[in-house]
């Protein structure tokens, strides 16, 4: 039998259904894999006892002929989702030790579907970062290495622990969250499929908030089919989130295997961003060719304000973050530091609890929202956001999907961009525009750099058209035939 940790979700489902192995067996295989790969630092909290109990319960359900969509599948959860009775930290000192008395809507749907929870994965603190280096619990190591050296590389961020865990075969799949690229960028860095659905598809209830108008949960998997399977169990209307969508949820797997003959694929030249690795541009051209070979028509589209998406994002996201993170005051939960007055307790708690990047973004957000700057920065950014969303809408009047690179570079080394604030922010230059417009996007591993590192291509469709997204992603995946895997040496 193949190694149980190498299976896709679809294969594991088939194997469990046929009785080739039990949930307990596949769960034990993953628990061992996690133990062996602790040097990756992919998990903040491992929950092996919980996983084994979940697995045994699943095996019982299966014996009784009563299985859910994710029954018995060992899955990891980004530590931004609140999980009842299991420490949920957002990788922040502020929430170290916080044990939610409730379950996020997304994870409760997954629990209902029968998943086995392996643990909580590492992330950039409060999901603010693109390299997983801002975590209070230390950086995550990308399981991939360059051919040319042995330096530890970043897995991307903020869902870096999830991406590394999926790539290193520590779980069949993981959840991520994406505010400006936090699923798609690490997926590209780690050679996996990362998907952000339309804003409103997944309930945000019980997910630690970063920027509420942008935050979306999504699946991180090794195949497009697995992405569709996991997404199916994450989405759905939730009255507890006012922005949760009541749009009907289609069967995402139904479109897989369909051809893309006659589909129009938009190619926006504005994504030829200065400084982008030429290998990535070549891969993009290759991707266009693959889709054309499959019968799609490549059409140039113009998204002229693309370059303004990132600066608009770095006003809007910090502004929302500064407001959202005001709740960490040391009174009801989380860290409390000493102080001589109430104000000093607040100030000391927040100084001690937040790391450097979170502090910087709260200050930036406070600045752009403060009297005298609100119109010049915050309102201006919201107007630019509107123009960017409108540009996508016009483009989707003529095309069915848009193809772009997912990232401007391959994974970089730990510390390599620590002194380059804006250079770090540029990691999200390809993913942020779709986030601002609330559109679904997916990063599909499409090739290796000359130095042996995975590179992803991104597809974007109009809002609530995940079906076209998966349909084209499926073809892209087949064409790329990406079978490389990390050496798993650390």
């Amino acid at each position: 039998m193949a190694n149980l940790t190498d299976l896709t979700i679809a294969e594991a489902q088939a194997g469990l259904a046929k009785g080739d192995f039990s949930s307990k067996e596949i769960t034990e295989a993953h628990i061992t894999a996690i133990e062996v790969a602790r040097d990756l630092n992919a998990f903040v909290t491992e929950t092996p006892e919980r996983a084994l109990a979940d697995a045994e319960a699943s095996d019982k359900r299966r014996a009784a002929g009563n299985v859910g969509a994710l029954d018995g599948l060992p899955i990891a959860i980004k530590d931004l989702f609140c999980t009842k009775g299991v420490k949920s930290t957002a990788s922040s000192h502020m929430l170290d030790g916080f044990v939610p008395p409730y379950e996020s809507t997304v994870t409760s749907k997954m629990v209902e579907a029968g998943m086995v929870m392996l643990g909580k994965t590492n992330l950039d603190e409060f999901a603010m970062g693109s390299s997983n280096e801002t975590s209070y619990f230390g950086p995550v190591v990308n399981p991939w290495k360059r051919n040319s050296d042995d330096q530890p590389l970043v897995p991307g961020g903020s869902s870096g622990g999830s991406a590394a865990a999926v790539a290193a075969r520590l779980c069949l799949a993981a959840t991520g969250t994406d505010t400006g690229g936090s699923i798609r960028q690490p997926a590209s860095f780690c050679g996996i499929v990362g998907m952000k659905p339309t804003y409103g598809r997944c309930s945000r209830w019980g997910i630690v908030a970063f920027a509420s108008s942008l935050d979306q949960a999504g699946p991180m998997t090794r195949t497009v089919r697995d992405s569709a399977i996991l997404l199916q169990s994450m989405v759905g209307f939730d009255p507890k989130d006012t922005t949760s969508s009541e749009m009907p949820v289609p069967d995402f797997q139904a479109v897989l295997g369909q051809d893309i003959k006659g589909l129009k694929i938009g190619i926006p030249s504005e994504y030829r961003v200065e400084g982008t690795d030429p290998e990535i541009l070549a891969l993009w051209d290759q991707g266009i060719k693959w889709l054309e070979d499959a019968g799609a028509e490549a059409v140039e589209v113009s998204l002229p304000r693309t370059k303004y998406a990132l600066p608009a994002y770095y006003i809007i996201a910090p502004a929302e973050a500064s407001s959202n993170l005001a709740r960490y005051d040391g009174m009801r939960y989380g860290l409390r530091a000493d102080g001589d007055s109430l104000a000093e307790v607040y100030e000391n708690t927040r100084a001690e609890g937040f790391g450097a990047e979170v502090r910087r973004r709260i200050l930036m957000g406070t600045y752009v929202l403060s009297a005298g700057y609100y119109d010049a920065y915050y309102i201006k950014a919201q107007k630019v956001r509107k123009l960017i969303a409108d540009e996508f809408s016009s483009a989707f009047e003529t095309v069915d999907a848009i193809l772009t690179p997912a990232v401007p570079s391959a994974a970089f080394a730990h510390g390599e961009k620590s002194d380059d604030l804006l250079g770090m922010y540029l990691n999200d230059v390809m993913t942020v525009p779709a986030s601002l417009a609330g559109l679904p996007g997916i990063s599909v591993p499409a090739g290796l750099s000359s130095d042996g590192l995975p590179l992803g291509l991104q597809l974007i469709t109009k809002a609530f058209d995940e079906e076209t997204l998966f349909r084209v992603a499926d073809i892209l995946e087949q064409s790329a035939g990406f079978t490389a895997r990390p050496g798993q040496k650390v």
Binding site: R332, G334, S341, A343, A381, Q382, K383, V384
Partner: protein, 96 residues
Amino acid sequence: MSVDKSTVARIAQLARIKVPEEDLDALADELSKIVGWVEQLDEVDTEGVAPMASTAEGTVLRQREDVVTDGDCRDDVLANAPETAKGYFVVPKVIE
């Protein structure tokens, strides 16, 4: 526009984060860099454009029935508090 040291001190106070004096210069420098960079938005003509707060803007906000949906969970609510007494949060003295 560059962000000076006193502005950093002021917004840190607004954000209720104690920033040590020795960090102010570096933060002023970093925030100036970011602010200088985002100011490229001034190149975009946004005359007459309505600011977009959410991509869910077109949808009508729902109203739910005005009924109790939760409750009887005091111990859960208090479980993560830094300090509690007799079923209440304990906070630092507010009134002298």
